[in-house]
């Protein structure tokens, strides 16, 4: 890992744009660092930061574990050094969804903390390893009900649970239709080709039988146990095989047949995951979604194709810089391919009407925290849920309504020019008449008074207050830190209008300076220019 990427060291605006895509948001210090190092060396530095079980460590040692899980997420998003790893973990949490909305899962916040740690730890490994980690994690087992899933009964009345078999194909690996490497749907005689049929779900459902909590014995009692102590060791350990509950029927799926009589669940699982991970759909299917989570909702086919190639070859090079082990599905190569692609790095043209993505509410709050060096009064980073109440943010990480995430990759708002243009805008699925006001009201309080339980988190605006007498300096700093200098001239003029309307007295300027900073921050973070990350 060395060499020089195709791009010169970025200017401040370009650095901030990159950090919006690769991290939970720019800070003044990180912009400077990236400008010094350049993209390649900066990424090398990030890739070298070791994984740590940070979230489970936090949750394990505290009371109120449901709240602490979220606090830990936000602490790491706002202040963690391993920004790329955590941003990828958050992105993968929206593809390989486990949700605390589920009552079965909600009982085990420590388990979900370890799931988030797993996604982070897997972010620079291979897709095959990530898929196995996800499949064997007991929280996924509870969420999609393959934990304790039993083989068919002798009478033929009871059949294996098909839930995980279906969703691992539809959502976690290959999707519904065969894809070209550029992400488009393969057509034969004008028709799409389904990747799997009901028979494949049935065959694969037999593989995902006979897995349950890890443990010394493999008793029926342990296999079928629903309630453990909520911080029991088993909730963070990969599920293990219980051969007596594993289907021994023939398992036929995706052109592979495991003959009847196979009694080793682990061996069958390896065949299934190998088959899925080798499927040519995975690169474009997962790659396109990662582009959508980090860079743009509507990547060009060529962009998806380059990302698929990095996935398939396990390498990505830009100039003399390269990364990846060469193993298929190398996720470090995938991430680099997404972030360093010419389409990601090109500044959008003035007048461009379709590039970019809507920032989801969680990222907006994280941007604010990082840009203004947010501090926890209690030291506990007490945020808790952010999706409830009228003046809520409208989204909590790890609380998607279903395994289909907060929004679908193909969502297009109806009755809008976006649909006519043939574009998708996933995050607009949670942008509606109620949420737009909720977000503005949330911001209004957050910016001036802080967020969280008893407003535990407050921004430190000292750098902005120092320049608040100069509207252009102040607005320029907001524009850089929050949008990578992508505010339109019209928006800049409106922010200026509102800022200068707050007169700066000759003496006792404290209140005026503060109100100018709040106003500039509120306007910037509410502006449609900001809400669409370019």
């Amino acid at each position: 890992m060395s060499g020089t990427v195709d791009y010169p060291n970025p200017d401040a605006g370009e650095a901030a744009r990159f950090l919006s895509q690769a991290t939970f948001g720019p800070t003044a210090a990180e912009i400077d660092r990236l400008r010094q190092l350049g993209y390649g060396a900066w990424l090398d530095e990030q890739f070298a930061l070791p994984a740590s079980p940070i979230h489970q460590t936090v949750v394990k040692t505290r009371s109120r574990p449901q709240e602490e899980l979220l606090n830990s997420f936000w602490r790491q998003a706002a202040t963690g050094q391993d920004q790329v790893r955590q941003r990828l973990a958050f992105s993968y949490s929206q593809i390989f969804v486990v949700s605390m909305i589920s009552s079965a899962v909600n009982f085990y916040p420590l388990g979900v903390a370890s799931y988030l740690d797993l996604l982070g730890a897997s972010a620079y490994g291979t897709y095959r390893a990530l898929l196995e980690g996800v499949t064997r994690h007991p929280m996924m087992g509870l969420y999609l009900s393959h934990l304790g899933n039993q083989k068919e009964d002798a009478e033929g009345y009871q059949v294996p649970d098909q839930n995980f078999a279906r969703e691992i194909m539809q959502l976690f690996s290959i999707g519904l239709y065969e894809l070209n490497p550029d992400g488009s749907i393969r057509l034969i005689a004008g028709d799409p080709i389904e990747t799997y049929r009901t028979e494949d779900v049935v065959g694969l459902s037999r593989v995902f039988t006979g897995f349950s909590w890890a443990g010394t014995d493999k008793s029926k009692a342990r296999f079928t146990q629903r309630l453990l102590a909520h911080k029991a060791d088993e909730v963070v350990r990969p599920m293990e095989a219980y051969p007596q509950f594993h289907s021994v029927l023939e398992k036929h799926f995706l052109g592979v047949t495991i003959p009847p009589g196979q009694i080793d669940p682990d061996a069958d699982l390896a065949v299934a995951l190998d088959t899925l991970a080798a499927h040519p759909n995975v690169g474009p299917f997962i790659g396109r979604q990662l582009i959508q989570r980090l860079v743009t909702s509507n990547p060009s086919p060529a962009y998806v194709s380059r990302v698929s190639t990095a996935f398939d070859t396990g390498r990505y090079a830009s100039g003399s810089w390269s990364t990846g082990t060469g193993a298929r599905g190398d996720l470090q190569a995938l991430a680099a391919a997404v972030l360093l692609d010419p389409e990601a790095r090109a500044r959008p043209d003035i007048g461009d009407t379709r590039t970019g993505r809507v920032r989801e509410p969680v990222l907006r709050l994280a941007n604010w925290m990082r840009a203004f060096n947010v501090r926890s009064s209690s030291g506990g980073f007490r945020i808790g849920r952010t999706d409830v109440g009228l003046a809520g943010l409208g989204q909590s990480p790890l609380y998607a309504p279903s395994v289909f995430n907060f929004y679908r990759p193909g969502y297009t708002p109806q009755n809008a020019a976006i649909a006519d243009a043939g574009l998708v805008a996933p995050e607009l699925q949670i942008t509606d008449e109620a949420s737009v006001l909720g977000y503005a009201n949330f911001l209004y309080g957050a910016i001036s008074s802080g967020v969280g339980i008893s407003r535990d988190l407050k921004a430190d605006y000292s750098a902005e207050i120092a320049i608040a007498h100069d509207p252009d300096l102040l607005i320029g700093r907001m524009n850089l830190l929050l949008t990578g200098n992508t505010l339109s001239t019209a928006t800049l003029a409106m922010i200026r209008d509102a800022v200068v309307a707050i007169a700066m007295p000759t003496r006792n300027q404290t209140s005026a300076r503060q109100r100018r900073v709040w106003t500039a921050a509120l306007f910037t973070l509410s502006s449609p220019d900001y809400l669409v990350q370019k």
């Binding site: 909305i101 509870l142 999609l144 899933n149 039993q150 009871q158 059949v159 294996p160 649970d161 098909q162 839930n163 279906r166 539809q170 519904l176 009901t198 629903r226 007048g351 009407t353 379709r354 970019g356 993505r357 809507v358 009228l390 279903s402 395994v403 679908r408 193909g410 297009t412 708002p413 109806q414 809008a416 020019a417 976006i418 649909a419 805008a425 607009l428 699925q429 942008t431 509606d432 008449e433 109620a434 949420s435 006001l437 909720g438 503005a440 009201n441 209004y444 001036s448 019209a490 409106m494 509102a498 309307a501 707050i502 106003t519 509120l522 306007f523 509410s526 449609p528 809400l531 669409v532």
Partner: protein, 457 residues
């Protein structure tokens, strides 16, 4: 029945005129005729209650005769409801089902009373179809089928779309029914109202869903009298949020904000206070909170300028692969509490015969047990509730709770015997959409008998 004849006549004439190349002007004629045909002077509302995840319909409507219950219990080891728990929700012998007896799920005591009062009906084995389909046709793959059966997102879409289309469809039948009658409203901001996301169901060609908060009208705090103490700031802020934009995503966000500000201002002045409805809103019930604001909106129809409205409310958690019995118990208890409260509110408002609430869900679930839950199915039983409903009976045919029946495509997944289009058509007819317009709203309807549920109202 006469409407059916005239509809056929219209279709023939449409075809004939299309050949003459004057379909455009004829379409206008058809629209004019349909407006005359419907009785549109009185307010009407459809409320879609979507049970997200796929409700287990076999435990919604349980056979209770000695033989049929035994068959049911044998088919569902560990997930069959105990017979003694069904006594309080027994519906008795049902003439439309050859005298077979059924009970509603034990959590649905309130809805069972509506059924006994003939205000609630059950429609059996409904689901998305393209054309009437038999098991052998399904197995042979010889007829067109809705895409991606048993996939949640696609079947939610298939239930809500005009043509049983999968995810990505653009037009839903609720919004499309409203399209046909939007001229009867003086304002169409609140013609299609959702309290649960931005559902396809409410998207028409002209009608777009409005997302309403369960608390009613919202305020934009920074655009009040002042923004951090600055009156100028609050004015400019609102300008910035609502100005038209060149970027398509930005423009959509501004458009939503504009709509929201206008609409919420009207809601704040028009909706009756939350406390005006009796009984009080049941606590800890997400669905009741949604139906509560729906009732308040219905009460305000004159002030809001709506004569025809379509609502969408939703409750999640029905994907019971696991822990089916306890989970469904709790969920249906919420449904029962919410729906019976809604019924009381409608009674207080004198609106019971002007509103029809019906259920929908991703799919039914397989009869087969997977140990403590059931997997994704297809056809399912649904509830239709309203003062105009000819309730107290079951429409369609309830398949036996047994494997290998004439509608079992495997594992006790039932091929629907009533299509969503037929269900939608009957609801649409009641809503006031003419037979001719129903063919426009539901292009696949022509393959089915549109009068299958004629007696429902």
């Amino acid at each position: 029945m006469t409407s059916r004849l005239s509809r056929r006549d219209l279709l023939k004439r449409t075809a004939a005129l299309s050949l003459l190349g004057s379909a455009g002007s004829f379409a206008a004629d058809v629209a004019a005729m349909s407006t005359v045909a419907a009785q549109l002077d009185e307010y009407r509302a459809l409320v879609c209650l979507f049970l997200l995840g796929g409700n287990d319909h076999t435990n919604l409507l349980v056979p209770t005769d000695t033989e049929t219950y035994a068959e049911y219990a044998a088919a569902r080891p560990s997930i069959a409801l105990q017979r003694d728990t069904l006594a309080a929700t027994d519906l008795g012998p049902t003439a439309s089902q050859g005298g077979r007896s059924f009970a509603l799920h034990p959590s649905l005591a309130g809805i069972r009373q509506l059924y006994l009062d003939a205000d609630a009906a059950i429609v059996a084995n409904v689901g998305p179809l393209i054309v009437p389909t038999t098991v052998s046709q399904y197995l042979a793959g010889s007829v067109a089928l809705p895409p991606k059966l048993r996939s949640h997102n696609d079947q939610q879409s298939a239930w809500q779309a005009r043509q049983a289309s999968g995810e990505g469809a653009h037009l839903g039948w609720g919004g499309s029914l409203a399209d046909r009658l939007m001229n009867t409203n003086s304002s169409n901001v609140f013609t299609a109202v959702s309290t649960s996301g931005r559902p396809l169901f409410l998207s028409g060609s002209s009608i777009a869903p409005f997302q309403m908060s369960t608390s009613g009208g919202l305020n934009l705090k920074p655009a009040g009298a002042s923004l951090y103490g600055s009156a100028r700031g609050s004015v400019v802020y609102q300008q910035m949020l609502t100005a038209g934009r060149a970027h398509l995503f930005e423009d959509e966000i501004s458009a939503v904000t504009r709509r929201s500000l206008d609409a919420n201002a009207r809601l704040r002045t028009s909706l009756p206070p939350a406390g005006s409805l009796s009984p009080a809103l049941p606590a800890n019930n997400l669905l009741a909170a949604q139906l509560h604001v729906v009732a308040r909106t219905i009460a305000a129809q004159t002030g809001l300028g709506t004569n025809r409205q379509v609502f969408f409310v939703g409750l999640g958690g029905f994907d019971t692969h696991d822990q089916l019995v306890p989970q469904q118990n709790a969920l249906l208890r919420q449904v029962d509490t919410a729906v019976t409260a809604f019924w009381s509110w409608l009674g207080q408002l004198g609106r019971r015969s002007q509103v029809v609430l019906f259920t929908a869900s991703d799919f039914g679930r397989a009869l087969a047990s997977n140990g403590d839950g059931s997997d994704h199915g297809w056809g399912a039983h649904h509830l239709v509730i309203g003062g105009d409903v000819n309730g107290g009976t079951i429409y369609g045919d309830v398949p036996p709770a047994a494997f290998g029946s004439s509608v079992d495509v495997g594992n006790g997944v039932f091929v629907p015997t009533i299509s969503v289009d037929q269900y939608a058509a009957r609801l649409g007819r009641w809503f006031g959409v003419s037979a001719a317009d129903l063919d426009l709203v539901l292009p696949n309807l022509q393959a089915f008998d549109p009068d299958a549920l004629i007696s429902l109202f």
